[in-house]
């Protein structure tokens, strides 16, 4: 294992310290329990809280700030955070308008957030993100939440900033989730520091199709082929799931898993945008980069969100976080 770390035990804490130090103008980091919360919060605004295992950076800590999250609770690498983190974060950032939890659909995340929610004594709702169409809609545990989570957080974050109440935020969040579909392909596994070796083996001419974001195997192994053919598979699954109308406006997000150069991500964007435009979809917004990562995994996911005017307006609204910033 080759990593820029001091020890497996201290990597998370030291990394969070660095994050807090680098962005002390917009966030603060609470140790034990660990959570990152926004400085200068607006009064009487629904508090948005997300979280999940570490190793997906900039998700979620990098999305705390004006116009997005009020707090993020990072667990250990690829391990859901514990309920006390969400509970303390909620108590710290709630200011009268209730709490909205944004949770990626994984057993661990769901259950730990659930326990926190049960203990919280203020109005709260949960938006469950399950945008990964590599699994059938009726999968026994539901579909996973992957790169679409950022889009939910951005759009609901802008609504909350604009004064939407808890019920409205929850409804909007569910709407974004229902308008969003993602799917990913991995060229390599990744190395969790505590494990010291890649989570799975993969040969030089294979890819894992339909992967989640925890370095686990995908739905199936396929031969490594051209980017266009891989994009076809991903985009087709998304298209068949969302069944967008002609002339539908959409946001296209190409998300790198961590070790794939931007050069390749833009190439994938070109291919995917072409695919959707040939189907009559109007790509009106783009986001290309490493946002929902799996440590040093190579590969990427494609996310499409069908956008209406309200969503577009919230997407464009000012945001100031470590990883996403515009208009401020």
């Amino acid at each position: 294992m080759k990593k820029l770390i001091n020890s497996v035990e201290s990597v998370l804490e030291e990394s969070l310290n660095g994050f807090a130090r680098a962005h002390s103008n917009i966030i603060q980091f609470n140790h034990q329990p660990n959570y990152v919360s926004r400085k200068n919060k607006s009064e009487n605004k629904v508090a948005l809280i997300s979280g999940g295992g570490a190793g997906h950076e900039p998700l979620h800590t990098g999305l705390v700030g004006k116009g997005m999250l009020d707090a993020a609770c990072p667990g250990q690498v690829f391990t859901s955070p514990t309920p006390d983190q969400m509970l303390m974060a909620a108590q710290a950032v709630e200011n009268g308008a209730g709490v909205l939890f944004i949770v990626k659909n994984y057993a661990g995340d769901v259950m730990n957030f659930e326990i926190a929610a049960e203990m919280l004594d203020c109005p709260h709702e949960t938006v469950l993100v399950n945008d990964d169409v590599s699994l059938p809609k009726d999968h026994s545990t539901g579909r996973r939440g992957v790169a679409g989570t950022l889009i939910v957080e951005k759009i609901v974050g802008a609504a909350a900033e604009a004064g939407a109440d808890l019920a409205t935020c929850k409804q909007l969040g569910d709407k974004v989730v229902n308008s969003t579909a993602s799917m990913g392909v991995a060229l390599t596994s990744c190395t969790v520091p505590a494990l010291g070796q890649p989570t799975f083996d993969i040969s030089d001419n294979e890819v894992e199709m339909g992967v989640g974001i925890h370095g686990e195997r995908g739905r199936e192994v396929m031969s490594l082929t051209t980017a266009d053919e891989l994009v076809q598979i991903l985009a087709k699954a998304i298209d068949e799931d969302l069944k967008p109308a002609k002339e539908q406006c959409a946001l296209l997000h190409i998300n790198g898993f961590g070790a794939t150069p931007l050069m390749e991500l833009y190439l994938v964007y070109d291919s995917a945008a072409q695919f959707f435009e040939e189907r009559g979809i109007k790509i009106v917004r783009s986001l290309v980069g490493n946002y929902t990562t799996s440590l040093d995994m190579a590969g990427c996911s494609i996310t499409l969100t069908l956008m209406d005017d309200e969503m577009l307006q919230y997407w464009d609204a000012p945001v100031h976080t470590a990883a996403l910033r515009w208009g401020i």
Binding site: Q76, F78, M111, V192
Partner: protein
């Protein structure tokens, strides 16, 4: 009350717990590589790390634990696991012990009582995880053990039998996960590819239950 035919003379109170936790810790560390490989194969590989983190936190509770009664000790263990482990297993084992703590208030620490306490724990995992036997999870170890305890409690079996049955049920349950399709947890994402691998949580549950049985048999 701990002084009875089943629990033995020395297990009079929660002083039983620190050495038990140490024994479990040793057993999990002994099998770390294997467990890690199991969760890497069909999960994300962190289960053993999560469990070790939880056990380490428990091992630091020594003095605190021995001052508590069983109910409070279980609660403390549950809260500690819940706030240190994380992951699916953290919320589940945390819930289990919190529920056991609640149930322990109502029960004596004899075979029937222990069975009721353990069953309350298992039920809370089923409820929290929305899962049952046959889904390729820790429940495939935990539920058979509950059933064996319940039948031994009914038959008022002797200690050696109870303990042997716990170990047999746990081991058979753990092994049954090998050929299952997973319908809960991360392994469910793999469909047919999950077959042929033992579930990591089922394996650690089995290891833990066997250590408990061995420790009890020495008392």
């Amino acid at each position: 009350m701990l002084c009875n035919k089943f629990t033995g003379q020395n297990m009079t109170d929660t002083t039983f717990l620190p050495p038990l936790i140490a024994a479990i810790q040793a057993e999990i560390l002994n099998n770390e590589e294997e467990i890690s490989a199991l969760d890497r194969a069909i999960g994300d590989g962190d289960h053993v790390t999560n469990l070790i983190r939880g056990l380490e936190a428990l091992s630091k509770l020594n003095d605190e634990l021995v001052q508590l009664d069983w109910s409070a000790a279980f609660m403390k263990i549950g809260m500690t696991l819940m706030s240190t482990m994380g992951g699916a297993s953290g919320s589940l084992l945390g819930s289990m012990f919190v529920s056991m703590g609640k149930e322990a208030k109502e029960q004596d620490i004899d075979l029937a009582g222990i069975t009721a306490i353990y069953a309350a724990g298992v039920e809370s995992i089923k409820a929290r995880g929305k899962a049952d036997i046959g889904e390729k999870t820790m429940l495939d170890t935990l539920i058979p053990v509950m059933q064996s305890l319940q039948s031994d409690a009914e038959q008022n079996s002797d200690k050696a039998t109870v303990l042997a049955n716990i170990k047999a049920a746990a081991t058979q349950g753990m092994q049954s996960t090998k050929d299952m399709l997973a319908t809960k947890g991360r392994a469910s994402f793999l469909g047919e590819r999950a077959r042929g691998h033992i579930d990591a949580g089922a394996r650690t549950s089995q290891l833990i239950l066997c250590v408990i049985a061995d420790q009890l048999s020495e008392n």
